[in-house]
């Protein structure tokens, strides 16, 4: 951290000294232009680098920002700064509108939808001549003024752009280092799991899009004023390609990536001038070569080479009790969860068929049945991942049907996944902390400045460490989750789910792939949980495990309930035996 601050100060000092070198005007202009690209790429980094979404709409927002400033200032409507403010506000508004339909789209689809947005913006700017002056473009855009001084001349422009760029990069860094940064990383690595841990992924993606629009609009407004002339052709697909190359070659998801890529690719054609008329050819080959050599980007590679063992601040000494104290068991007989007439159809397939069951508070409830009986589907419905075709799901008097997974989690239903879905590149501790922030109260402003965010972070970390210790994972807290052994990963899933402070914890095959010893330890921990007012709903195939653990068992077959009762009663039930082993006739 300290080294980072020192580095930033040295870099900023060096950058501030550049105009003293007496560079020629052309180089200074290129530097100014380079800053514009750094800003634009830093905005793009929010969507592609932070959120992991290939949204390409930043070029459209860049164009809108440039035209906003260009038209408002030349039309005499507003000065530069009010015009820039209006453009940024307009672009953020447009991003919120664009976000509504695009937020559900992924990968290629998102890329194409946002690419269409860029093209529509460009085509409208070209065709709507009455307002935009079409291909003639907007001429004579005035420079901004600061405290009555017009920003003229290379030196002043340079310092203005350096200041704006440094400020916005610092902001990007703060957001990346905050709990939103952790949530972004979690969403990037395992979106469904992040949502199930209480991360509102729709909001997070919209936030990334809005931030990228704001940065692009600032870059566009500055560009319009810097170049004094804009026309629609500049905002074409070439520009998109350049920013994409800048971000990926610089290093997506890093703060410095946009700087390296933005400045580097602005100057690359200049360095290639030596090859004269082949320089654009060399530029293309350069891009192929750079991306082949550094698929993670230059900054990404440098970070990997220079990675030290993570030196985290010593854990806050205060060990917090992660769970409600023992003895606070809810009164028996009160249903915490009530499922009525639940039916889930996928096309013609009926996965769950008119299922009724209730889970009493403070109990361990098992859900068993042969493969394809609909057990995981039930958990997916309970946690908001699937919407039931019919029926009701009520938790403590509140209907859960139709709620998004993160909303269900925040109401107190957590889950683990049958196929492990951790955030593999994040440390075990960070995995748990992401889930813990589902009850966090700080807002984005706190992340930028303020102590509240740090205090909250420390509390989260203490709680997460305590949870890891409680499950025997404290020794691996700082290792990437993906490097843990299988059994430890299962435990980490449970720790992560517990961090959301659930009332009902759904475990989807928690014992799968565990050794005998690990299984016994797991039973002991889960029984201890019951003592602490966490109600459990367990799906499992391992019979000794489930018989040992559960108070009540519901048996499903082909989506229907065929038996329910105590482990002993269920074990001797004729229908259950038949479902598992076939009819007596077939066995004979």
């Amino acid at each position: 951290m300290r080294a980072g601050r020192l580095g930033a100060a040295v870099g900023l000092g060096a950058a501030a000294a550049v105009p003293l070198l007496g560079l020629d005007r052309y180089t200074m202009r290129l530097l100014d232009l380079g800053f514009v690209f750094v800003l634009l790429t830093a905005g793009f980094n929010f969507t592609l680098g932070y959120a992991g979404q290939l949204s390409l709409a930043h070029v459209g927002f860049f164009a809108l920002g440039a035209y906003g400033v260009g038209l408002l200032t030349t039309g005499g409507v507003a000065g530069f700064w009010p015009a820039l403010g209006l453009s940024v506000a307009g672009c953020v508004g447009a991003a919120l509108v664009l976000g509504v339909p695009t937020v559900k789209l992924r990968t290629h689809y998102l890329a194409l939808a946002t690419l269409s947005f860029d093209e529509i913006v460009r085509l409208v700017l070209t065709s709507w001549k009455a307002v935009t002056r079409g291909t003639d473009g907007v001429l004579g855009i005035p420079p901004p003024s600061l405290l009555g001084w017009p920003v003229r001349g290379d030196g002043r422009w340079y310092y203005l752009l350096l200041a704006v760029t440094a400020a916005l990069l610092w902001l990007a860094h703060r957001i990346g280092a905050s709990r939103w940064g952790a949530a972004f990383a979690a969403m990037r690595q395992a979106e469904v799991a992040a949502e199930a841990m209480g991360v509102d992924t729709v909001r997070l993606k919209t936030l990334a899009l809005a931030l990228s629009a704001a940065y692009a609009a600032v870059a566009g407004g500055l560009y319009a004023s810097l170049s004094t002339f804009i026309s629609p052709e500049f905002f074409n697909i070439d520009l998109l390609v350049s920013t994409l190359a800048m971000l990926l070659i610089g290093g997506a998801g890093t703060v410095l990536g946009p700087v390296v890529g933005g400045l580097g690719l602005t100057f690359l054609p200049e360095w290639l001038r030596g090859v004269e008329r082949y320089y654009m050819l060399a530029y293309g080959l350069g891009i192929v070569a750079l991306i082949t050599l550094f698929p993670a980007g230059i900054v990404g590679l440098a970070a990997r080479l220079g990675r030290r063992p993570a030196v985290l601040a010593a854990p806050a000494a205060r060990i917090v009790e992660p769970l409600p104290p023992a003895g606070s068991v809810a009164p028996a007989g009160v249903p915490l969860l009530a499922v009525r007439a639940l039916t889930v159809r996928f096309g013609g397939l009926v996965a769950v068929d008119g299922l009724d069951f209730a889970v009493e508070a403070g109990r361990v409830h098992g859900l068993i049945g042969p493969n394809g009986a609909g057990k995981t589907t039930v958990i997916n419905v309970l946690t908001g991942l699937y919407r039931p075709t019919a029926g009701s799901v009520v938790l403590g008097g509140r209907s859960l049907v139709g709620l998004a997974p993160h909303a269900v989690t925040r109401l107190g239903v957590a889950r683990t996944f049958q196929t492990i879905r951790l955030f593999p590149a994040m440390s075990a501790l960070a995995n748990v902390m992401v889930a813990g922030q589902c009850h966090a109260t700080t807002h984005l402003g706190h992340a930028v400045a303020g102590r509240a965010a740090r205090r909250e972070r420390e509390a989260l970390e203490a709680e997460a460490r305590a949870l890891l210790a409680w499950l025997g994972l404290d020794a691996r807290a700082d290792d990437p989750a993906g490097s843990l052994a299988h059994g430890q990963q299962r435990l980490l899933e449970i720790a992560r789910a517990l961090a959301t402070r659930p009332r009902l914890l759904c475990l989807d095959e928690p014992a799968a792939g565990l050794t005998h010893g690990e299984r016994a330890a797991l039973v002991e921990r889960l029984r201890a949980l019951r003592e602490r007012a966490v109600t459990l709903l367990v799906v499992e195939h391992n019979m000794p495990f489930i018989m040992q653990l559960c108070d009540t068992i519901t048996v499903l077959d082909f989506g229907r309930k065929i038996a329910e009762g105590s482990p002993a009663a269920v074990r001797d039930d004729a229908a259950v035996v038949e479902a598992y082993l076939g009819s007596p006739l077939a066995r004979a």
């Binding site: 290629h108 689809y109 269409s116 891009i287 192929v288």
Partner: protein, 283 residues
């Protein structure tokens, strides 16, 4: 008829793109540039060098095939198993190379091939039909029939399909997947060349043409259903018709805006397109 002819060209373009997509999982941004090069090669051989048609017929495919191999070797093979954006960038780089190569070799001015046929229009009853348009439709149909036969009846075609569906299993069963991959790129590049050849007499060829085409191609592929071969053909034809109708009944100025609006509408309301598979996350 104009719509149908443009639709056929879009369909060829989209087809080449989908072949690569299915085989390698990669978005080939240079597909439009390949068509541009194909068009220039034809104009160059036919109009500039004045070679007889049979020489052109032999040389142009050879050049396109070589380009396909080059594309696979330079922009795809070194990045296998990398995330798709990375490959996306490298094909973008390759496209920039092609565009500037075209600029160096053939200059920036739009070129066109003189019509191949005399007379250039035919009267069929009351309707007047351009011969070149008829030729485009005929050639596309013939090619599609041929491709279908190739993929269904030849061993190489079956291997290529197998490798595209499951590379690992195909390799275990003795398919040389490295070769089928190169072949896919060659085939895709040949399709692009053919599209360029058909396009050159009715459209201008210029170095930046690739951008326009690749955007059209994306629209066609999404409308048809991402990754579906019949979908790509259907999407291409549909796009051609939409454009001609939009130009005729709404405004030729806004015909591209309408094309993109149609794309967005599909993405929002029917992202799987006409023939694609429903997109669903499985847990």
């Amino acid at each position: 008829m104009t719509g149908l002819a443009m639709g056929c060209i879009y369909a060829l373009l989209a087809l080449g793109f989908v072949l690569i997509l299915n085989a390698s999982g990669a978005i080939n941004f240079a597909q439009g540039d390949l068509v541009m090069v194909g068009g220039f090669v034809v104009v160059w051989l036919g109009a500039d060098l004045g070679l007889p048609w049979y020489a052109g017929l032999a040389l142009a495919p050879l050049a396109m095939a070589a380009l396909g191999v080059l594309l696979e070797r330079l922009a795809f093979r070194p990045l296998r198993g990398k995330p798709f954006v990375t490959v996306f960038i490298s094909t973008i780089g390759f496209g920039i190379v092609l565009r500037n190569l075209a600029l160096l070799l053939w200059g920036p001015s739009p070129r066109s091939l003189p019509g191949l046929f005399r007379p250039d229009v035919l009267r069929l009853g009351p309707a007047v039909v351009s011969t070149q348009h008829l030729f485009i439709v005929g050639a596309t149909v013939a090619l599609l029939v041929g491709l279908q036969a190739f993929f269904v009846h030849t061993r190489t075609g079956i291997w290529m399909r197998a490798a595209a569906q499951d590379e690992e299993t195909a390799r275990l069963l003795g398919v040389r997947t490295g070769r089928t991959m190169v072949l896919t790129f060659v085939l895709s590049s040949l399709l692009a060349g053919l599209a360029g050849f058909l396009l050159a007499p009715v459209f201008f060829v210029y170095p930046d043409l690739g951008h326009l085409l690749v955007l059209k191609l994306f629209i066609a592929v999404v409308i048809g259903g991402f990754g579906s071969i019949p979908g790509a053909i259907l999407g291409g034809l549909f796009l051609g018709l939409v454009e001609v109708l939009a130009a005729a009944y709404v405004s030729s100025l806004y015909k591209d805006v309408i094309a993109f609006a149609v794309l967005m509408a599909f993405l929002f309301f029917k992202p799987e397109g006409f023939l694609g598979e429903a997109i669903r996350d499985k847990v």
